[in-house]
Symmetry: C2
Subunit: 331 residues, 2 copies
Amino acid sequence: MKIIPHLTSDPDALGASAGHLVVPKGDDWEALSLPVFSFNKGEGPRLLITGGNHGDEMEGPIVARRLVDWLPREQSCGSVTIVPELNPLAVQAWTRNTPVDGKNLNRLFPGRSDGSVSERIADAVSRVLLPAADTIFDLHSFGPTWDIPPSVIMHPIGDANLMAKTVRMAEAFKLPVTLVWQHNETAGMFDTVAHNQGKVLVCTEFGGGTVSSGALAVYEAGLRNALIGLGIIEGKAEHPTFRQQKSSRSLETLTSDELRSPARGIFEPLRSILDEVKQGDLIGLLRSMESLSADCIEICAPTAAIVYGIRSGGFVEINEEVAILARPLKL
Amino acid sequence: MKIIPHLTSDPDALGASAGHLVVPKGDDWEALSLPVFSFNKGEGPRLLITGGNHGDEMEGPIVARRLVDWLPREQSCGSVTIVPELNPLAVQAWTRNTPVDGKNLNRLFPGRSDGSVSERIADAVSRVLLPAADTIFDLHSFGPTWDIPPSVIMHPIGDANLMAKTVRMAEAFKLPVTLVWQHNETAGMFDTVAHNQGKVLVCTEFGGGTVSSGALAVYEAGLRNALIGLGIIEGKAEHPTFRQQKSSRSLETLTSDELRSPARGIFEPLRSILDEVKQGDLIGLLRSMESLSADCIEICAPTAAIVYGIRSGGFVEINEEVAILARPLKL
C-alpha cells in the first residue's frame, strides 16, 4: 500500500496535540517524521508556523520550540500549528540546501509526491498543513554569511488587497525592518504558493552571524507581537530593543538594489546595516587573493539608499551578492 | 630537480618587497604561491604576521591586507613580514580544514615536506618564514559558529620568562580579553612550535558571526596597538570600543571550563559573552529534534565563572563544545 503524506495527530481536536507530519519514503531517502505541535482554542485565526526551511537558519527552530513551551498558557483563541524543523536533514548538517539531494526546499513548492526528499517535504507541507491555515509565518534568517537587521520580509503580491493585508501582518511584528523585496526568483517559494491561494504568508528574517541569546530574544519578541496582532494572545505589542534602539521602518528592495561582486576575491564590508549612503559612496572592497599590491576594486552605491544587508567579509566568486540596498516603502 | 620551499622576494632587503612563498607540488596538489609582503626598516623587532591559517576565519586575511596598505607610511623601525592567507584553499572554500586533504593546518606544524598539501604549507612556513622572526601574530577568529569577545589567546608556556613576555605582548593589543587557555590538544599547533624555539607567538581571536565593518575596526585597532607596543609604529595605544565599553581583562580557561553537549540536539544559548555566572546557573538548553514535548536538557555552570565563549544556536552532536568559561588570570 502506498503511504501518502499525513499527520499522526488531529490539529482540529480542541486543546494541545503533538504528532508527526509523515513524509513518505522515496527512492533517495527513508520516510521522515517531522514533529508537529497544535494548539486549538476554537474560533479565530488558523496560523501555521514553520521553522528550519533552510538548515543553517537556526533562530526559527529554536524560537518555535520556545513557543511550544509558553503558547498553551497564553493562547486565548484560534489555532496554531507549529513545525519547528521543516527540513531536519539540512538542520542536522547546518546547510541551506538538503544534503541528500542538494536542493533548496524553498524553491520546490508545492513539491512532488514522486520527487526527491526535498520535493516530498514540500509536497507534504502543501497537501497536509497549508490547506488548514489562513496565515503562515515561515521563520527564516539570513544564515551565517550576512548581516541584516531583524526583519519581516515579503515579496510583492499581485492582489492589492492581499498585499495590503500581508504588509499589515508583517508590520505587526514591530521588528526594526519590514521589507518588500522585488525578487526575480520567487518560483517555487513557499510564499508564492501560499499567496496564490489567497493566504497571508510572511517570512521573519534575521542576520548577524551567531544565533545568540540576544538575537533569540528579539526574534521571540517579534513573534509575540505578531500573535498579539492576530488576537491569538493578549498583551501590548512593544518594539524590541535592537542596537539600543526601539523602532520600525518599512522599506523596499528593487532588483537593482542587489549589488554583486565584479570579480572573485575577498569581499571586505565597509558599511554597517541601516547606514544611509549617497550615490557613489563606498559599500565595500574586493581584493584579489593573488595580488601582490594593496590594490582593490571599490564597490559603490549606484543610488542613494539604505544598507539593508551586507555580506560577511570572505571569499566570493564573481557575481555573488555582496550587499542589498533598500529605500523607504511606497505602496 | 626537486623544488624546495622558498621565497621569491628578499625580506632582508631594506624597504618594501612583495613576492611569493612557494609551497612545492606534491602527490595531492600542485605548487602553491602564497603572496608575502615584507617591510624592512632595519634594526628592531622581526615580526611575522599570518592570516588565514583556518579558512573560515576571515578577519585575519582582511586586516592583514589593510596593514599592507598603511604600514609602509607609518613604520619607524624593525621588519614586518605579512602572509594574508596561509591556507588559500581553505579560504576559498570557507572551511576550517583544507578541502584537499581534510586536515587542520594548525595541528600539523612543523609540517612535512613529503606530506599532503596542508603539511607542505606548514613545512614551508616553518622552514622559510619562522626562522627569521622573533615575534609572530597568527590572526585567527572563532569562525561562524561561536560568539566570543575580541581577544588575544595563548596557551601556557613552560618557560616562565617566555610566558611572561608572551602575556605582555598579548595584553599590548588592549583587546577586551587576554586569555590563557589550558588546552589539551596543542600538539602540532603553530604556537607550540614557535614557543619551543623561544619565540613570542600570540593568536588574535574574534567571534560573533559575520565579519562586519565594526568587527574589522576593532581587530585592526588591536593590531595597531600591538605594533605600537613593539615600537614598530609610533602612536598612543587605546582600547577599542566593544559593545559600548573600552576595557581589557586577563582571563584563563582551564580544561574543565569547556562545557560539552550531553546528547545530540539543538543547542539554545541562554547567556551572552562576558556574563558572570554562579555555580548552577543555566548556560543553555539542549532540545531533542525528535521530541514531541517542550522538555529539554539544562546545561549549567559547574562553578562560578565568566562566560568567555558560547556556541551559536544550532544542531550539535553529543560531546561537542557548547560553552567556554573562564576566570581571572592568576600568574
